[in-house]
């Protein structure tokens, strides 16, 4: 597709279960970002992939969170042993096709509810 695609759009899970969130970036974009958006908290940076470089994981809140990007395209954010405080909207963005700096394009997000 033409934009960033995230799935699922909504996910309800029980506390303690693992979840996987998927992001399909815009074709050819070299950079991919994951953010968490909570009410009143703005956009919290989680992790950043740039081409084949090692990802910047400095925003991951705990070792329960991990992400991978396969083949420089699709990315999966995994949250293990989910907690209620993990409830938020998880946003993915991609950028970087062509020369120079480009803006990031966002997906619609995955709303995660941990019950």
């Amino acid at each position: 597709g033409a934009g960033v695609s995230q799935s699922p759009s909504n996910k309800v899970t029980e506390k303690g279960k693992d979840v996987e969130l998927r992001c399909d970036p815009i074709s050819g974009h070299t950079a991919l970002y994951w953010y968490r958006q909570s009410l009143g908290q703005g956009l919290e940076f989680l992790i950043y992939f740039q081409g084949n470089s090692a990802p910047d994981k400095s925003g991951l809140p705990s070792d329960r969170f991990s992400a991978e990007r396969t083949g420089g395209s699709v990315s999966t954010l995994t949250i293990q042993r989910t907690q209620q405080e993990d409830s938020a909207v998880y946003l993915c963005a991609s950028s970087g096709k062509g020369q120079g700096v480009t803006e990031a394009f966002f997906g619609q997000g995955t709303r995660l509810t941990v019950v």
Binding site: G42, L43, V101, E103, A104
Partner: protein
């Protein structure tokens, strides 16, 4: 650590009032600056961006922003707001002059425009 600060968390204006939303960042090197908007129920989209050149940049829907390097600021302005401008506004900063470097967001400002 890199940070972006938006001073106004919640702004309420009447239609036709002028708008200025503050944004400051904490990095002294080359920066690329963005304002994103999130309308109710929609995904984040770019409002305007500054990479280089004229520090006064114009975006969509009559918005503009001015980069003042000495003040580390990139405030968003609009001379006359409309009810349809009701949304959440995010300032973001990327360091450097290439496509590498993570994108850091401020906490966001909720704008409510009363008809």
């Amino acid at each position: 650590a890199q940070s972006v600060s938006q001073h106004n968390h919640h702004v309420i204006l009447s239609e036709a009032a002028s708008l200025e939303l503050g944004c400051n960042y904490s990095y002294g090197g080359t920066v690329n600056l963005f304002w994103y908007v999130q309308y109710p129920g929609q995904h984040l989209q770019l409002l305007l961006k500054y990479f280089s050149g004229d520090p006064l940049v114009k975006g969509i829907k009559g918005f503009e922003a001015e980069f003042i390097k000495s003040k580390f600021s990139f405030n968003l302005r609009k001379p006359s707001v409309q009810w349809s401008d009701t949304a959440e506004y995010f300032c973001a900063v990327k360091h450097g002059s290439s496509n590498t470097g993570k994108l850091i967001f401020g906490q966001g400002t909720t704008l409510q425009v009363k008809p």
